[in-house]
Structure formats: structure tokens, C-alpha cells
């Protein structure tokens, strides 16, 4: 056994930290804040990463990627999330839209989209969830009605992150309501400026851009915009989302926040109540376990057991997110609710608490992850 990530991964970690230190302003809390300069920061940082072959590190070089190892990708995931995701909204295009295009896209689709994604020039959103279909995506109601060689799409999407800023959407719609459930859906690659698409932001505790409604009113889509086969959307969606199987390295931001808070407190750390310091110890242990579960899931790669291993890692890391959020709020006590640049750690704790509430909901709820772990342990639930 060997838990060394390797010299290339260690070198990459240092390189990324140096880059972030030089390029990202102190107190940066991500692209989705009320300050438009944060969004601009992520746009310029993405272009910088792209020019160094780091934005699409995991991609093959032929598509503009860096051809990085799985452990370099792991380090990239950790460092980006630890530093409040300075890639902003780009990660969706990088992490699964691009890989899905490589597997299912036509030659024309690849030529049109992949180099733009790897250069950090385009933002994608994901038109999956609907008011009546959240976790149960196969039941979505947005209809694509045949129209000549293409379709006309009508329906509503919800919770769509980055829809306001995105220029493209992977849109899931029902192309055959009479087909068996797994064969009803198709995926379309649709430009967001197409007539009939309206985006309405939803105010939320997460901050701007995270949640939107997207209304589709007789939107024209064309035959060459189908990703994969018509009627095969459910399979493509499931396989594409598996590219993101291990998910966000939430443990890395938690470890970073605890480290930053410890430095911020200095000797005052020793004056914290013993019960808080003991919780701090337990949090660090749980984070180590979450990290190791993630490493295990990464190392399994295409093994049949990788899915359940990834779900276990997600359960561990998302619950750590909320555990650390509560711990840091209790550390700050009466100043916990302070936000903005004048708050301790530039408001990173308050920001983390808000965002942590979504940890067990976003990208597959913790209930779904439990179902997947239980399925491996107990077999299928009829």
C-alpha cells in the first residue's frame, strides 16, 4: 500500500497554490457573490489555467486538455474547492459536459464545443431538474415535439445553476412519452440565446446565480443538436454524471477553513471551550476519513464497486461540510452571522454555512447516495 499521490501531483499542488496566491484576491469567496468583480476574477483565472493546460487537466491532449493523471485531477479538485472554486462556473463544462461530448458527441459537436470549453471561453448549464422531477429525473415533463428534422421544446426547468451567465445548456426533454421510462428522454445541446428561452433568477440563501428557473416556450432545436441517440438521454445522462462520480472535494475546503480559522485565532485557540476543541479534533478525523474514502473511490476507477464507494465518499464528505459549518459557527459565537469583507476570514465561515446546507441536496441527495450504498450491501429494493 502506498498513499503518496506522487511527485507530479505534489508539484501540481504547489503550482496551483502559487497561482492562486498570485492571481486570486484575498477574501475571494467564489464567482457567485453580489460583487461582479468576483465573476471577472474567475473568467480571467480560467483563461490563465487554460493557457497552462490546467483548466481541462483531465482531458486528452487532442481536445485541448492536459492529459493529467487521476491523482493530478484529484489535487486539482482539492485545491480549486479549497480556494472557493476560482474556476467559477466552468467546472460543469470541464467535468462532465466535455467528457460526455467526447464519448457521445458527433465530430461536428466535438469540433464546435470542446476547444471552447478547454479554453475557458464558454459556460454551460444543465437543464435537468423540473418542478415535478427532481431526484426522479426520468419523470421529467418538458416535451420535445417533432418538427421537421428537429423538435420544438416546451416546458420548465428549475434550480438551474448559472443559467443567467451560461451560453449553452444540456437540455433534457421527453421525446416519446409513450416509450418505456428509460427510453423517453433525449439530450440536446442548445444555445441559451435561442428564442423562447427565458431565465428567471431565484433568490436564495446560496447567493446569486446558484438557482434559476428556465422557461422553454416552443423553443426550436435541430437534429444536429442531439447528444447521443434520440431516446437514449437517460442512459447518456447517467453515464455522463458518473464522470463526476466522486464529486466536489468538500473535505478540502473544510480542512482549509479549519486551518485558516486556527491561524486567525492564534493563541486564542487554546482558550476555546474544551468541548469545542474536542469537536475540532473529531472534525479533523472525519475529514481525514472522508478524504480517504474519496481516494479509494478514485483508485477503483472502472471497478464495478466504484459507484457505491463514491456514494460512501459523498455521504462522508457532505456530512463533514455541515459538521464543520456548525463547528465554525460555534467557534465564532456571537459574531458567527457577520458577513462581508469586515467579518472574520472575510465572511468565509458565514458563506460556508449557507453553502453547506446544500451539500446533502445538490448533485444527488444524500438519500439517493444511501440507496446506492444499501443496494450494494443488500441487493436491489423491489
Amino acid at each position: 500500500m502506498d498513499y503518496d499521490l506522487g511527485a507530479d501531483a505534489a508539484e501540481l499542488r504547489k503550482r496551483l497554490r502559487d497561482l492562486i496566491s498570485a492571481q486570486i484576491p484575498e477574501g475571494f469567496l467564489g464567482a457567485c457573490t453580489d460583487d461582479p468583480r468576483d465573476l471577472a476574477t474567475t473568467e480571467s483565472f480560467c483563461k490563465l489555467l487554460a493557457s497552462d493546460g490546467l483548466l481541462a487537466l483531465a482531458w486528452p491532449k487532442e481536445h485541448g486538455g492536459g492529459g493529467g493523471s487521476i491523482w493530478q485531477q484529484t489535487v486539482l479538485r482539492e485545491e480549486m474547492w479549497a480556494h472557493h472554486e476560482p474556476r467559477g462556473a466552468q467546472y460543469m463544462g470541464i467535468n462532465w459536459v466535455g467528457p460526455a461530448l467526447m464519448r457521445y458527441g458527433t465530430v461536428e459537436q466535438k469540433a464546435r464545443h470542446l476547444s471552447a470549453i478547454s479554453a475557458g471561453e464558454v459556460i454551460w448549464c444543465q437543464g435537468f431538474s423540473e418542478p415535478e422531477a427532481g431526484t426522479d429525473l426520468a419523470s421529467l415533463r418538458t416535451r420535445a415535439v417533432p418538427n421537421g428534422d428537429g423538435w420544438r421544446v416546451t416546458g420548465q426547468k428549475v434550480w438551474t445553476s448559472y443559467a443567467q451567465m451560461a451560453s449553452w445548456c444540456v437540455l433534457a426533454a421527453c421525446t416519446d412519452p409513450n416509450a418505456p421510462k428509460p427510453k423517453r428522454l433525449s439530450l440536446f445541446l442548445v444555445p441559451m440565446d435561442r428564442p423562447g428561452i427565458t431565465v428567471r433568477p431565484i433568490r436564495s440563501m446560496l447567493g446569486p446565480h446558484h438557482l434559476n428557473e428556465v422557461f422553454l416556450d416552443d423553443v426550436e432545436v435541430f437534429a444536429d443538436e442531439v447528444l447521443g441517440e434520440v431516446g437514449d438521454g437517460w442512459r447518456v445522462m447517467r453515464e455522463a454524471l458518473a464522470f463526476e462520480r466522486v464529486g466536489i472535494a468538500r473535505y478540502a475546503r473544510c480542512e482549509s477553513l479549519l486551518d485558516r480559522m486556527q491561524n486567525e485565532l492564534g493563541d486564542d485557540w487554546d482558550q476555546l471551550p474544551e468541548s469545542i476543541r474536542a469537536r475540532w479534533v473529531r472534525a479533523l478525523i472525519d475529514l481525514r476519513v472522508a478524504r480517504l474514502l474519496a481516494y479509494r473511490a478514485v483508485s477503483l476507477q472502472d471497478d464495478p464497486s466504484a459507484g457505491a464507494a463514491a456514494s460512501a465518499a459523498r455521504i462522508a464528505t457532505t456530512t463533514c461540510d455541515q459538521q464543520v459549518a456548525e463547528l465554525l459557527f460555534d467557534v465564532l459565537g456571537p459574531t458567527a452571522l457577520d458577513s462581508g469583507a469586515s467579518a472574520r476570514l472575510h465572511g468565509a465561515v458565514e458563506d460556508h454555512w449557507r453553502y453547506a446546507q446544500a451539500a446533502t441536496v445538490a448533485s444527488g441527495t444524500i438519500e439517493v447516495q444511501r440507496m446506492l450504498v444499501a443496494r450494494e450491501a443488500l441487493g436491489d429494493h423491489r
Partner: protein, 314 residues
């Protein structure tokens, strides 16, 4: 990075598990509460496996073999102080004790004992006799002499680590027994495993056990590569997690097995009762957490962001 056990170690673990099944598993451990010769038979099983030829102090491969042996012993509730004998000093088994209330599991077995507390303070020890307790039936109160020097910190660390591997075996086996029960037991016309509450409870226990397994592998793989203080923190971390996981998984097992889980004819009862000394002693997980507090600022609790800890002379 390689997160899987080496193949030869996996094979050795399978052989050990098979030998302990031949010994009789938890039901033989139950009989050993009253049939003295069975603990000698447990020793013979270990000797057959070459347990006492393992040089855990100087051979990383042997330490890894010892770890999976302890894991298999935990799953079988093997009634023998394996960790204590693997770490014997000059032929005397090494027990980890709490000087405030010294207790030694299997302390009544023939042979010499020495004791150490978590700080490494060494004591000569005089075990008394068993008390026929239900929890920890082989646990023996002991009397300590005045401190007599120290044992190496590495020995204390290995004791905690190998004991944690034993707990790992216990919780893996308890989860497997529970899995078998909920898939077989019918209530309201269907297996318990079809109730979502049961499935979620099993999922949570499964995540806890998976996490402990990864932590156990990680910890034992680092014994050669970290500073001594970090290694000591690693051992405490593993033991704390092992104890917390045991609380969760054994509670889950009892709840899902219902009344059956309290009966000695169920292996869960035997695993739980016989493992209590390892879970509770020498100190609780709360005390382990308190011992780790200085390691947060000291950097011994390593994270992605902590500064490397300089090695100190041992």
C-alpha cells in the same frame, strides 16, 4: 497511490479467517468463558498461522500481516490476547492499562505480564482472577507496582493500532451478520431489507465501516514514513474512530436483530460482550479526543494544509 492491501496479505487474511472458523468462531469464544482449554486452542490456532513468528516491530510486512490477523481475530471473537502477545517484551505480554483502574483482558492466562499506560509509563503488574462479568468475561482486575521506566512510544502506538484492526474485524462481522439477518427476516410479508429505514441504517453503518477500513489501512501504511509524534497521533486517531464506529455499528446490529441480538446464540451478543474491554479501555473515546487536542495546533493531526512536523529524537 495504492489503496488496496497487497495480494499476499489478502491471501494470509483469508487463511487466517478460515482457521478461526475451524476454531469455532464466536460460539467457541462463548464456550471459552467456561471451558478453560479453548483459550489454549485459540493459541494453537494462532501458532498454526505463524502469529508468534511475526516481527511487528521491525518488519513492515509482518506488521501488516499482524494487522489482518488481528482483524480476523476480531471477526471471530478469538478468545486470546493476540495484540498483547505480539507486542510482548522479554516474553511478558504487554497490556495497555489505565492506572486509575487497571484491568487486563485475559490477564488470568498463565505467563508474565507487564503493563503500560498511554504515556508509555511501564509497570510491573499483578493480575487477580476473573469476575465472571457479562461484559468482558475474560477481564481481570490487576494491581500495578510503582512506575518502572517506560516502554517505547512506538509500542504504545502499535498496541492502539493493532487493537483498532481487531475492532475493525468486529464491526465488519457485526455488519455482515446484520446484513444476513435483515435480508432473511420477514416482517409484514417482506424482508426487513425492503424497508427504507432499515436500508438507510445499513447504509450509514456501511459508510462508517468502509471509512474505518480506509483509515486503518492508511494508518498502518504510514508507520515508517511519518515523524514519531505524527505516528502517535495517527494511532490515537485510528483508535478513536474505531471506538466510535464500534458504538454505532454494534448499536445498529442490536437494533436490527431485535431480541435475537441480545441472546448468546447470536454471534452479535458474543462479539459485543467480548469486545467491550477493547472499546472501553484503557480510556474512552472522549479521553482519546482530549489527548489529541494539542496535536491540532502542533500539526500532528495532519491535513492538506498543516505544516510538516519535524522529527524529534525518540
Amino acid at each position: 497511490m495504492k489503496t488496496a492491501l497487497p495480494e499476499d496479505i489478502t491471501e494470509f487474511a483469508a487463511v487466517a479467517a478460515k482457521r478461526f472458523v475451524r476454531f469455532g468462531g464466536p460460539q467457541t469464544a462463548l464456550r471459552a468463558e467456561t471451558e478453560e482449554h479453548l483459550r489454549h486452542d485459540a493459541w494453537s490456532a494462532l501458532a498454526d498461522l505463524g502469529a508468534f513468528d511475526l516481527d511487528v516491530r521491525s518488519s513492515p510486512d509482518d506488521l501488516l500481516a499482524a494487522a489482518v490477523l488481528c482483524q480476523a481475530a476480531g471477526a471471530a471473537a478469538l478468545p486470546y490476547p493476540l495484540v498483547e502477545e505480539l507486542l510482548a517484551i522479554d516474553g511478558a505480554r504487554l497490556a495497555l492499562v489505565n492506572p486509575a483502574a487497571p484491568r487486563i483482558d485475559h490477564g488470568d492466562l498463565p505467563g508474565d505480564w507487564i503493563a503500560a499506560d498511554l504515556d508509555g509509563t511501564r509497570y510491573h503488574v499483578q493480575p487477580s482472577s476473573r469476575t465472571s462479568a457479562k461484559l468482558g468475561p475474560f477481564l481481570v482486575p490487576a494491581t500495578l507496582t510503582e512506575p518502572e521506566g517506560i516502554v517505547p512510544a512506538a509500542d504504545v502506538d502499535m498496541h492502539l493500532t493493532l487493537g483498532s484492526w481487531r475492532i475493525l474485524g468486529v464491526v465488519q462481522q457485526a455488519l455482515e451478520i446484520t446484513r444476513q439477518h435483515v435480508t432473511a427476516r420477514m416482517q409484514f410479508g417482506k424482508p426487513l431489507a425492503e424497508f427504507q429505514a432499515v436500508r438507510f441504517t445499513i447504509a450509514d453503518a456501511s459508510v462508517a465501516v468502509r471509512g474505518l477500513y480506509e483509515l486503518a489501512k492508511y494508518t498502518i501504511s504510514r508507520t515508517e514514513s511519518t515523524a514519531a509524534q505524527v505516528h502517535s497521533a495517527d494511532a490515537l486517531i485510528l483508535r478513536l474512530k474505531a471506538v466510535d464506529t464500534a458504538h454505532q455499528v454494534l448499536r445498529t446490529a442490536h437494533q436490527l436483530l431485535g431480541a435475537l441480538g441480545f441472546c448468546d446464540e447470536s454471534d452479535v451478543s458474543v462479539l459485543d460482550r467480548h469486545t467491550q474491554p477493547l472499546i472501553r479501555l484503557p480510556v474512552s473515546s472522549e479521553i482519546l479526543a482530549l489527548r489529541l487536542i494539542p496535536g491540532v495546533r502542533g500539526g500532528q493531526l495532519e491535513t492538506l494544509f498543516s505544516q510538516p512536523v519535524a522529527a524529534e529524537p525518540v
